[in-house]
Symmetry: C2
Subunit: 183 residues, 2 copies
């Protein structure tokens, strides 16, 4: 059956704010479904984020290692972070890069923007390639427990194959940066 | 500074359950940081999910179009869905494929598992390639407002380039299925 976009739309009946947090908010919406029935939708509101693939002059990629409480693992990821209120994604990308790795980039190229989990959250992540890196004398934030480490594309492909790099934004970012991640 | 994994670990002090929902739960944890300070962590608990790249005998990929309330958009994605309690990911992949597209697969290959948003959720998504598809006579769920549509790899690459396919799981899944998504 051919579709028209209006086949799918839901009409908002009411919205209940359940939680306002430091990082996320939670609300529950009641909607009228296309068949006239009522449904509920749980929505995690997120301010949006950026991720950066920092490429050094000798062709290495800088990744960051940190403990992720939600998954109870130390993870190796591309540098990333949440947008501050009113902050432009490009400014956020440069800020997070400096805070997490100590590098300043003079060239930044947008790779894509994507939704991380459209089933339950509005989070958008903007992904950039950062080049022409210069080491700054900025100290990392005292409350960021994070190591930056640089790897060759081959090492990255191997860590992806082994599942050592295993979060959605890093996989998409590394792939779009042109790193061959599988055979 | 070289790291050891224990540099990063946080110690749980207490955990408050804030919400138990239909799809997600929310809790706030208080932790001791590596420097001895106290921090809070908001965690969205998710049951885990699967995503499937269904590849037809003539080399097309079946995608599904549906309205996503959290992002207020009609989106085109690979078939996907949440794990039922106790359900094996492979069984879930076959179930979601049948429910969303009407196809039964006789060959299923695991591509990867990844965290969608380790910064605030424990959601894991298991990604599969489904081949040797046979159309079933199963009717789609009455409460799923979803269209299945098949596309060639070239069409998919074009839709990715235009941002018409723009969610993390679909991008990773299509890439790992061997579809060339960019130049």
């Amino acid at each position: 059956m051919p579709h028209t976009e209006t086949d799918f739309h839901e009409i908002l009946i009411n919205s209940t704010r359940l939680f306002e947090g430091k990082v996320i908010n939670l609300r529950r919406d009641e909607v009228t479904l296309p068949n006239g029935k009522t449904g509920t939708r749980e929505v995690v509101e997120h301010p949006g984020a950026v991720a950066v693939v920092p490429l050094t002059k000798d062709g290495k990629v800088i990744l960051v290692r940190q403990f992720r409480h939600a998954v109870q693992q130390v993870m190796l990821e591309v540098p990333a972070g949440k947008l501050d209120p009113g902050e432009m994604p490009e400014a956020c990308a440069l800020r997070e890069l400096a805070e997490e790795t100590g590098f300043v980039a003079t060239r930044l190229r947008k790779l894509t923007s994507m939704f991380t989990t459209p089933g339950f959250s509005n989070e958008v992540i903007h992904i950039y390639l950062a080049e022409d890196l210069v080491e700054s004398d900025k100290e990392p934030d005292e409350d960021e427990f994070i190591n930056s480490e640089s790897y060759t594309p081959d090492q990255i492909a191997e860590m992806v194959a082994k599942g050592e790099i295993c979060d959605a934004k890093s996989l998409v970012a590394l792939y779009l940066a042109g790193i061959q991640l599988h055979d």
